[in-house]
């Protein structure tokens, strides 16, 4: 069992929703409202030491509901292991707290997720399109967006 599961269940009993083990990867589905607190705790607790956010990915699980997943991949240099956190967001208004204040590296990743998947990161210092032109309409990584463009 991954060492972070017990830690999170103890500190955030209400917010841990599901634990998925697959091919040696541990994914903990957590409440999106608590993501900033959880990431801060995982970063600062010496027995966790997840000081490095590897990436943030946005996934569209259409037609499932909640439709969007925001995936945080953490790495601990001290214990040399990985942890994946996932937050599920509704399709109608995918909004989640920005974690730029916890990890500076989240800046570009969140902008990319906003640009391509249309997920809004509340509190992001500069949330605007990063790869596409500013006047681009739509979010190309969503499943309803046609591959050949609109």
């Amino acid at each position: 069992m991954h060492r972070a599961i017990e830690f999170l269940q103890e500190r955030f009993p209400e917010d841990v929703q599901e634990v998925v083990e697959f091919r040696g990867d541990t994914t903990i589905v957590v409440n999106p409202k608590a993501i900033r607190a959880i990431l801060t705790a995982l970063r600062d607790a010496p027995e966790m030491g997840y000081k490095y956010l590897s990436m943030i990915a946005a996934v569209d699980y259409y037609p499932a509901e909640p439709r969007f997943g925001v995936v945080y991949n953490l790495y601990s240099h001290r214990y040399r292991d990985r942890l994946t956190l996932k937050c599920l967001l509704p399709g109608a208004a995918p909004v989640i707290d920005s974690v730029v204040s916890v990890f500076s590296t989240a800046d570009f990743h969140e902008r990319e997720a906003y640009d391509l998947m249309g997920i809004v990161f509340k509190g992001h210092p500069n949330l605007k399109r990063i790869l596409l032109p500013e006047d681009f309409v739509g979010f190309p990584l969503r499943k309803e967006f046609p591959q050949r463009g609109q």
Partner: protein
């Protein structure tokens, strides 16, 4: 022009570096706010090369994604394939035969040398030294010849397959590669002599772009960028994949504060370590298969396709439908020349990936441009972009 900077300041000047300038290493635009020659703010503007590779992958079989991955960091195309194949193999729950693992290591480490050489040449060229670029092409050419021997391709070899490699090493490859890595340290001395103690080079690089260890972690830096600041971390050693645990190599660390010069020293040492790994892998190269013996994953031998109906069916099904991993999500990272290259794959159980998110090291590192450049001279921006070793195809994806 759309207002990129929030408030207008009358005593500063806006200058566009790029999007098409030799020192930006591709189509990157950096909007710089200057106070005289001092940088007040530097805002990288990317996306000029965005090709939507993640979206394209969703409509292809896993095998058809491999040539797209080549085109991310095109200076180290084979390493991207390496990571992608490992991620799909993790999803499938298979491990490739030992010989294939060794061959992959050989090709990946040769590619790392080629990538670092190209970085060295262009970085030095940006800062005014031309000779390292010409010397560098000499060695890089040999590595590309070796790549051509195994795959027929030079820039985009696409030699790795899910479950192994496309073909066994051709005759003559092993002695030629051995000769190259044995001779490489002698050639390496040329670059070392040209730059390491060069006063102009040191003036341009020492104390520029300093990042502490903690800052590196906060900004998500990995690979040589982080090791230049003393982050003792290398995925090849700490989370070994593909038999890296069989080889004896060191992880060079920056001995000084993490500046441009320190990262230069780290990458220089890394080339020697890579040559060491290739040499060991060539000398210990095991015999055996070069791909997994599973008709649902590897194509059958061509002669069997013409003579055996079962093999023909397997061949057809694999080409049409591809591999079908179970439902699930995996993340697999490898140590690419530029740092941690990761693939997050969501599979819905069909033959096409539901979603692939690629963690590109260049993209992550570029995030810190503003932090590094603030308060430095405009000329230092060129050194900073150079030290990041970015490839814009990797940034934009």
């Amino acid at each position: 022009m759309t207002p990129v900077l929030p408030e207008k300041q009358y005593d500063t000047m806006l200058l566009n570096v790029g999007p098409s300038h030799p020192s930006t290493h591709g189509v990157l635009r950096v909007l710089v706010e200057l106070d005289g020659e001092v940088i007040v703010r530097a805002m990288p503007d990317l996306g000029y090369l965005h090709r939507g590779i993640e979206k394209l992958c969703e409509n292809r079989t896993y095998h058809q994604c491999i040539p797209l991955m080549n085109r991310l960091d095109y200076l180290a195309g084979e390493v991207n394939n390496f990571g992608f194949c490992l991620a799909v193999e993790k999803l499938l729950g298979i491990e490739v035969p030992k010989r294939a693992q060794y061959i992959r290591v050989i090709i990946a480490e040769l590619t790392r040398i080629a990538s670092h050489i190209f970085w060295l040449g262009t970085h030095a060229h940006d800062l005014g030294a031309m000779t390292p670029l010409f010397y560098g092409f000499r060695e890089r050419e040999k590595i590309m010849d070796l790549c051509e021997m195994v795959s027929g391709g030079r820039m985009f070899p696409a030699y790795f397959r899910i479950g192994g490699v496309a073909a066994d090493l051709p005759e003559g490859f092993v002695p030629e590669a051995l000769a190259f890595v044995k001779d490489f340290p002698n050639k390496w001395k040329d670059y070392d002599t040209l730059l390491t103690e060069n006063p102009i080079w040191k003036k341009r690089t020492v104390g520029v772009g300093v990042m502490t260890r903690e800052e590196c972690l906060d900004w998500g830096w990995s690979g040589p960028m982080a090791r230049g600041s003393g982050v003792d971390w290398d995925l090849r050693r700490d989370n070994p994949y593909s038999s890296y645990e069989d080889f004896d190599f060191n992880i060079p660390l920056g001995t000084r504060e993490g500046d441009v010069y320190s990262r230069y020293l780290v990458r220089m040492q890394e080339m020697l370590e890579s040559a060491k790994i290739v040499r060991q892998a060539l000398e210990k190269l095991p015999k055996g298969d070069i791909k997994v013996d599973d008709p649902r994953i590897s194509l059958p031998p061509k002669e069997k396709v013409y003579t055996d109906i079962a093999a023909l069916i397997n061949h057809f099904k694999l080409i049409q439908e591809g591999v079908t991993p179970p439902k699930g999500e995996v993340y697999q990272a490898i140590e690419a020349p530029k740092g941690e290259m990761g693939f997050y794959i969501v599979s819905d159980g069909s033959g096409r990936p539901w979603r692939i998110k690629i963690r590109r090291p260049s993209f992550v590192v570029l995030n810190a441009t503003d932090k590094l450049a603030r308060g430095r001279l405009l000329a230092d921006l060129i050194a900073l972009i150079g030290t990041m070793d970015i490839v814009l195809a990797d940034v934009d994806c």
